[in-house]
C-alpha cells in the first residue's frame, strides 16, 4: 500500500465555495487540541457565540455553530421546527429549495411548493397567495441567496408575510452571511443556518445557526421527539447553552472551531458593513470586466448577488474544458452550473477572503486568455483594464 502524506496544490478558489481561506484561519486550526469541556475551550465557545451574534446581527441566545456542514444546519432547522403532519411552504428558486422540500418530506410533513424560474428571486406576491390558500401552514422556508443561481430574495418582506399568517420563517443564509446585508433581529427571522466556507472564508464543515425565542418556544413544546438525536436542539442546548454546568452531548470539532473563531475575529476587525461593501466593490469590477469581454450575467442586476456571479456560457464553448484549463493551467477554480443550470452558467465566486482585486484581475485575465485560445466569440484584451478602471471610479 504505502500511501504518503497529502500535499494539496495551491489553488485560487473562485467557485461557489469553499472560498480562499485566510492563512490566519489555517494557522489557528493547527493550534494544540484541548478538551471539549476544558474551561479554556468553554470560554472560546462563549466568544464564538458573541461573535456570531454580531455576524448574524442578532441577540438570539441560541446562536451557535453546528458541528457539521451547512446541509446539517438546514436539517437541524427542519427536524426541530417541523412536526409530522404539518404543512410547510417552501419557496423554490434553485437547487437548495429542492433540498428543503426533501427535508420537509423526511420530517413526515407536507411541502407546499412555490416554484420560481431559476435565477429569479422568490416572489412575495406568490407567497402571500399561497399563505392565503393554506391557512393551516405552520412554516415558510426560503433561500436568501441561492448559491445555484446567484439570485438574492427579499428576506425581510418574505419573513413579514410569513408572520402575518402565523408561520415561522426558516431562512437559508449559506451564501449571504457576511457577503450581503443580513439582519436576523430586524427582519425577525426565526431560524437561520449558514456555512463557514463562503463569505466567512473559513474551511468547510461547520454550520452557524440562530433561533428566535418564538422558534425555541415551538421546539420546547413539540408533541413528538425530534427525529435526529445528533441535531436535537433540546439536547444540543445543554452543551452550547449558557447554563453554568455544560453537559456532554457530542465531542465538538475543537480545531475546526478554532478556525471559525478566528474567521469571526477577522470579520469583526473588518466590520460587517465594510465586508458587505468590499463584496459589492469587487463584484462591480468583475462585472465591468465580464461585460467588456462581451459576456453577460444570468441574473438581472436588481437581484444579483455580488459574491456569486452566474455568467452565461457563450454559445459553442466547451464549458468543462474551460474550467479544467483554468484549474490545471492557472490553478484557478470556478464553478459549474448545478442541477438544471449545468452547461448554462459558470459560477464565479467572490467570497470572503477571495473577494479581492488580485483575484478579480487574475480571473478575468485567465478567462480572457482561455476563451480567446479556444476561439470563442468574445472581445479579447479588454476585461482586465475595464475591471481595473472600475476600481478607480
Amino acid at each position: 500500500m504505502a500511501i504518503s502524506s497529502f500535499h494539496p496544490p495551491v489553488r485560487t478558489l473562485m467557485g461557489p465555495g469553499p472560498s480562499d481561506v485566510n492563512p490566519r484561519i489555517l494557522e489557528a486550526m493547527s493550534r494544540p487540541t484541548i478538551g471539549h469541556l476544558d474551561p479554556a475551550f468553554v470560554g472560546m465557545m462563549e466568544e464564538t457565540k458573541a461573535l456570531l451574534q454580531y455576524a448574524f446581527q442578532t441577540e438570539n441566545k441560541l446562536t451557535m455553530p453546528v458541528s457539521a456542514p451547512g446541509s446539517a444546519g438546514m436539517e437541524m432547522c427542519f427536524v426541530n421546527l417541523v412536526e409530522p403532519g404539518e404543512k410547510v411552504i417552501v419557496c423554490q428558486n434553485g437547487v437548495f429549495g429542492m433540498r428543503m422540500k426533501e427535508n420537509v418530506e423526511r420530517c413526515g410533513a407536507t411541502p407546499i411548493m412555490i416554484e420560481e424560474d431559476w435565477g429569479k428571486p422568490v416572489s412575495p406576491a406568490k407567497l402571500e397567495e399561497t399563505l392565503q390558500a393554506n391557512p393551516d401552514a405552520s412554516v415558510v422556508a426560503f433561500v436568501h441567496a441561492e448559491t445555484s443561481t446567484g439570485a438574492i430574495s427579499d428576506a425581510e418582506t418574505l419573513v413579514k408575510l410569513a408572520h402575518q399568517y402565523d408561520c415561522l420563517a426558516i431562512v437559508d443564509a449559506v451564501t449571504s452571511l457576511a457577503g450581503s446585508p443580513l439582519k436576523v433581529d430586524e427582519w425577525e427571522i426565526d431560524a437561520i443556518y449558514s456555512g463557514t466556507q463562503k463569505c466567512v472564508s473559513c474551511t468547510p464543515g461547520i454550520s452557524p445557526v440562530s433561533f428566535s425565542e418564538r422558534a425555541i418556544n415551538k421546539i420546547q413544546n413539540r408533541k413528538t421527539k425530534v427525529q435526529s438525536w445528533f441535531l436535537d436542539l433540546n439536547l444540543v442546548m445543554g452543551y452550547w447553552g449558557s447554563n453554568a454546568q455544560r453537559s456532554y452531548h457530542h465531542t465538538a470539532p475543537i480545531n475546526s472551531l478554532y478556525g471559525f473563531h478566528e474567521a469571526l475575529v477577522i470579520l469583526q476587525e473588518e466590520g460587517l458593513e465594510n465586508s458587505w461593501e468590499r463584496h459589492a466593490t469587487n463584484h462591480n469590477a468583475l462585472k465591468a470586466g465580464v461585460e467588456a469581454m462581451g459576456l453577460s450575467f444570468f441574473v438581472d442586476e436588481a437581484y444579483r448577488l455580488p459574491q456569486l456571479n452566474a455568467v452565461t456560457i457563450p454559445e459553442g464553448v466547451d464549458e468543462a474544458a474551460v474550467r479544467s484549463t483554468l484549474l490545471n493551467s492557472y490553478n484557478l477554480e470556478i464553478g459549474a452550473g448545478l442541477g438544471s443550470m449545468a452547461g448554462k452558467i459558470w459560477r464565479i465566486g467572490l467570497m470572503g477572503f477571495a473577494s479581492n482585486e488580485t483575484n478579480v484581475l487574475n480571473c478575468l485575465g485567465a478567462l480572457d486568455a482561455v476563451l480567446s485560445e479556444m476561439g470563442a466569440d468574445i472581445r479579447s484584451g479588454k476585461a482586465v483594464s475595464a475591471a481595473k478602471a472600475a476600481y478607480s471610479e
Copy 2:
C-alpha cells in the same frame, strides 16, 4: 466587543478523548484549502478510503469518513439500517448503549434492551436468549469498547450470534479503532462507526464508518426513505462511492479530512498490530503504577480496555478537585465518570499519540503528588518507579 484571537493552553490529553494530536496532523490541517470536487481532493478521498479499509481490516467498498462527529456516525448506521416498526436488540453496558436506544426509538422502531452492569462486557448468553425470544428482531447493536466504563466486549461472538438469528450487527468502535484488535471482515460486522479523536489521535469532528454488502443490500431495498437527508447513504454514496462522476451532496470538511488522512498515514507507518501492542504496553505500565499507589481498576482485568482506564476513586477524595488541580497545575486532563459512573471513577485515557511512556510517567507522578497533598490514603512515591520497571520487563 473586540474579541481577540484564541490561543489555547498546551494540555496533555489523557481523558476519554480527544487525545493528544500528533503535530504532523495539526500541520496537515493547516495546508491550503482546495475544492471538494477538485481532482486532487478526489484522489485524496480514494487514499483515505484505502487507508481506512486497512484500519478497519475490511474490504468493504462503502468505507469512508462521515463529515460529522461519532454521534452522527452512530445515527447514520441506525437511520439507514432500521426502518419504522422493526425490532432492534440493543445491548447496554454503559452510556453509549443508552444513546443507541434513543436512536432506535427516533427511527420509529422498538428497542429490546439487554442490560448489563456497567463495567461488565455484554453477555453472549443473554444475547442468545433475547434473540430466541424475539425471532422478529432485525438488528443487534452493541458497543465494542464502552468509553464510559472501559470494558471491552467480545464483538466476534456477538456478531456471530446476531447472524445465526438473521439479524444485522451494528457495532460502536469509537474507542476501539486502532487501540484494540478489531477485524471488520473476519468478524463479519455489518455496520461500524468510530471516532477520530480517540486511538486514531486526530482532531474530533469526523466519524469513520464501514458497511458490509449485506448492509448495503438492506439500505438499497428500504421500503421507506431514510429520515435524514444529510446521513442518507443512498445519497452519500454518490459522493464517496467509486463512480467515475462524483455528484455533489454536501461540502466535505476539506481540512479536517487532510488531518484524518495524515492520521491514517501515521497508523499505516506504525502498523496496526504495533499500535495495538503499544496501547497494551502503556496500559501495563500505568496499571503497575496505579496498583503500586494502592488504587484499583473498576473493570476486571479480563475485559479491561488498555486505552481507557477506569480507576476507582479512593474514598473521601474530592474527585473534581483532583481533576481541576491536574488541569490547572499540571496542564493534564483526565476524565470524570459519565452518567451513573460520575463520582465513582476517573477515566485515564492512553489513546493514540497520547499512549506513550512520558505521559504514563507524568500522569502517575502528578496523580501521586496531588493525592498525597490532599491526604488521600495511598502509598506515595511508588507509582512512577513501578511503571518505569514495568517497561523493562
